[in-house]
Symmetry: C2
Subunit: 224 residues, 2 copies
């Protein structure tokens, strides 16, 4: 257990039941029992703590903006970056196959394990302890996020809308690039196969042109 003291310190939670801590680090490649059920639980604890935190922190944000903000905070990429800060790969308990193929570096394994650790803290000491640990782990990410810029992302809005209707994702393609290297102009098409819908967007970068095309597509698919 000695080498795990560093992880425990970073988590900010001293486990009463070390079996929970150990299980949270155990990948399914080692057989049963493993951390998959704990990951399910931890995911829901994380979602709720984030919901509460941003609800209180941003009293003017709409439900849709709160949803987007939370999705950004709890996504696998954010979890993975926190797992890397914790050097979580050093503490994983993996089966031989995963060990050989570098599973301790894999994004999905690391982000799932972090969720399992959150579940383990909740089981060990309850909701308040889990909330405290999550807000400590997330402090710098929460401070860094700009809810206003997130709420303006038309590509995300369109994607969420289509997923909600169980429709395949849109495809973006560059139709034309014109102008000098330092002053380029992009024209991009957004194609939504299920509606056979093509919209165009323009801008000084590929990203802004895609956002414009996504906004136009979103406006069109929303029409009755």
């Amino acid at each position: 257990m000695q080498i795990e003291e560093r992880l425990i310190r970073h988590l900010g939670h001293q486990f009463s039941d070390p079996v929970l801590f150990s299980l949270a680090l155990t990948h399914r490649s080692l057989g049963m029992p493993n951390n998959e059920r704990m990951e399910f639980l931890g995911d829901s604890v994380l979602n709720m703590v984030m919901a509460e935190h941003i609800y209180v922190r941003y009293p003017k944000l709409s439900e849709g903006d709160l949803s987007r903000l939370r999705a950004h905070l709890v996504c696998a990429e954010t979890l993975y970056s926190i797992a890397q800060d914790l050097d979580l790969g050093n503490y994983l308990k993996l089966g031989e196959g995963e060990l050989k193929s570098g599973g301790f570096r894999r994004q999905s394994i690391l982000s799932d394990t972090l969720e399992a650790l959150i579940g383990a803290i909740f089981l060990d000491a309850g909701f308040d302890a889990a909330r405290q640990a999550i807000l400590k782990l997330y402090a710098s990410r929460i401070d860094a996020v700009d809810p206003v810029s997130l709420s303006k992302d038309a590509k995300t809005t369109l994607q969420e809308y289509l997923q909600n209707k169980h429709i395949g994702l849109p495809v973006y393609s560059v139709i034309e690039v014109s102008g000098q290297a330092h002053d380029q102009h992009f024209e991009v098409e957004c194609y939504v196969a299920a509606f056979n819908l093509r919209t165009k967007g323009e801008g000084s970068s590929r990203r802004t042109a895609e956002q414009a095309a996504a906004q136009s597509a979103y406006d069109r698919v929303q029409q009755p």
Copy 2:
């Protein structure tokens, strides 16, 4: 407030802050402020309380089965049936348009309002109070659910798998029906457009044939 005493009794929670209770019942058709942000919060509280409850109650269920079980319990249909038990439509605060068009009977408005009430209880008195209210509201539904039969649904398993990969949903079609009326035999095709995959299933009902075709499709798309 008198007429709302009955709802409060059914919820099993006496609000310290009646403004929260009132806001939870206020639909966006009345303008701002309304219950939409509270619904976002209540949804996440409900998800977490259910996750914890079934995690503890079913120690042998896999992560996938826990997910399916929770999805069944927190879906709009289940929320709607609980909202009906509470006669929630009688307490809604709706704008004139929604009043005239029967918004107090609409499934989405009622299920969203129940989530908002859960959010309001959490804000009023914290996690344990919200958990207590949720488990009281859900007691008979939780007892009635059979996690084993839920876990055997191949169509759901396939659908979740495809959604997770952002792939459009499968299409089922009956190819052949043979036999007498009391002894029919169905042959059904499952088509997954993204993989151009067609599988067949047979059975004595359309449903069992679809399940067999879905299982076959799921087995195929999972192959590396």
